[in-house]
């Protein structure tokens, strides 16, 4: 095992990408970018990393370059955030449909407007249905581990799909955290050479991105969907393999003090930490509260969620994005739909909060718990969602 160092999470992420020995990094190096690509550019410039760094003119081009380089068999990384992801949107869908194992670090920040650079999940929710594997990280260590992990899963020939690693903007990207580095041998052992399933090469001509007529488009989409659904077993298997190597085991749905819990908070990303403190606080008062942290967003871990929810009576779902005029935040809608068939469905209380970097404290979580308890007693309509902490 490597050394444990205090380091900014973005820098550590870049160094993990360097350890993965990427061949091509394509990124637009201006706002809303993070130090991840800045540091990778430095590493390439100093020849610490032998890779092609392509400083493109827009995010749309960043993903286009990534598709091209992945298609010829180069291990490819890109990184973006908020508006950048919005601009890249079109090509993200293509990368998934072409089954190109690109890894993207997505520093989650809000989509404008109002103009904002701060952290929430509105960017990733805009590409929910892009077909990439999407997972969330809670700490700097998670981020470091998942940079290497993402390539391992993406490049598994049974998967061959892009992987998006979400990390909360500022809260993770700009934070200095203690992170245990892998040593190079470990990374090399974990992550074998990239052997693409399909490759553009003059020795054997193939067509990628062909026209799909109405008679075959549905079949193409079914095949793509099945690939994403089937990737779940490899995702879980690879977490196990990484756990055996590092001692840190990750799961699609992670639990915190869920034993005999009647109420469960459900969070994604860095909110897991503060929510667990709130659970401690409420447990001390004798409340039967626990926490579920949804790490895997796509493919959605249906069975794991159902098992984790167990007999809980209420789930407080925290959404960090708005689905304007919808049936709840994107996460709550999904959770409700996932549990609808259960005989005894838990009450879902949905709070939209933490938008554009607004702090949600331990006490705020405790207050949400109190509001939820009251809402159950008042039998409020389930489809209502609450903008927590909004001023009148």
């Amino acid at each position: 095992m490597g050394k444990r160092v205090g380091v900014e999470v973005s820098i550590a992420a870049a160094e993990a990408i360097g350890m993965a020995d990427v061949d091509v990094v394509a990124a637009y190096p201006i706002t809303p970018q993070t130090h991840i690509v800045e540091h990778l550019a430095e590493m390439v410039e100093k020849k610490e990393l032998v890779a092609e760094y392509v400083p493109v003119e827009s995010e749309h081009s960043a993903m286009s370059v990534a598709c091209g380089s992945s298609a010829v068999g180069a291990r490819t990384f890109t990184c973006t955030s908020s508006q950048g992801l919005a601009l890249m949107n079109e090509i993200v869908f293509l990368a998934a449909s072409l089954r190109l194992p690109i890894v993207m670090a997505l520093a989650n920040r809000s989509l404008s407007g109002p103009l904002s650079i701060w952290n929430d999940h509105s960017d990733v929710m805009s590409i929910r249905d892009c077909g990439c594997i999407q997972l969330f990280t809670e700490t700097g260590q998670d981020v470091f581990d998942h940079m290497l992990y993402a390539f391992k899963v993406a490049e598994n020939p049974k998967v061959s799909l892009p992987v998006i690693v979400n990390l909360d903007g500022f809260v993770l990207t700009h934070m200095i955290e203690p992170i245990e580095y892998w040593d190079k041998e470990m990374a090399k052992q974990f992550l074998p050479e990239f052997k693409p399933v399909n490759r553009l090469h003059p020795d054997k001509a193939i067509t990628m991105g062909a026209l799909g007529m109405p008679n075959v488009f549905t079949e193409a989409k079914k095949a793509q969907d099945q690939a994403l659904v089937d990737s779940k077993s490899i995702i879980i298997e690879t977490w196990k393999e990484m756990g055996d190597l590092t001692g840190r085991y990750y799961h699609p749905v992670e639990h915190y003090k869920t034993e005999n819990a009647e109420t469960l908070f459900l969070t994604m990303g860095s909110f897991g930490g503060i929510a667990s403190l709130a659970v401690d606080q409420l447990r001390e008062k004798g409340e039967k509260v626990g926490l579920l942290k949804l790490r895997l967003w796509r493919p959605f871990p249906l069975e794991e969620l159902e098992e984790a929810v167990g007999d809980a009576k209420q789930i407080i779902v925290i959404d960090r994005a708005v689905s304007f005029g919808g049936t709840g935040g994107p996460v709550a809608s999904e959770i409700r739909s996932a549990l609808y068939h259960k005989e005894k469905t838990p009450v879902i209380t949905n709070f939209v909060c933490g938008l554009a970097g607004r702090d949600v404290t331990q006490d705020n979580f405790a207050e949400m718990y109190e509001i939820s308890k009251k809402r159950i007693n008042d039998s409020v309509k389930q489809s209502e969602y609450v903008f927590y902490g909004v001023r009148e």
């Binding site: 072409l98 399909n198 990628m208 062909a210 079949e219 193409a220």
Partner: protein
């Protein structure tokens, strides 16, 4: 070249809808799109081949006697050949005629 499966099932498709058989576009009958057909008035044709050069779909073929004509399996009837022709020997007529 082997024929591709006409209506494949989803399991028949290659990963990422890749087509590993090259030149498969030849099997696609773009002539179906056509509403106008190029008709060559041979007496005016000077066999210069400008139609052959400009055809965006390479649907113009040279015949044994040195004239040029459209391969109607692929010709979409765009009319570029008629537009470019120096002598005006190509007329675009509607398919119904």
């Amino acid at each position: 070249m082997t024929e591709m499966i006409k209506d494949p099932g989803w399991k028949d498709l290659e990963v990422g809808f890749t087509i590993s058989q090259s030149g498969s576009a030849r099997q696609y009958r773009t002539g179906d799109w056509r509403s106008l057909r190029p008709i060559v008035e041979k007496s005016k044709c000077i066999k210069c081949g400008i139609c052959y050069i400009f055809c965006p779909d390479m649907s113009i073929v040279k015949t044994e006697d040195g004239y040029f004509e459209a391969d109607l399996y692929y010709c979409k009837g765009c009319g570029i050949c008629a537009f470019e022709c120096f002598t005006g020997c190509i007329a675009m007529v509607t398919e119904e005629e």
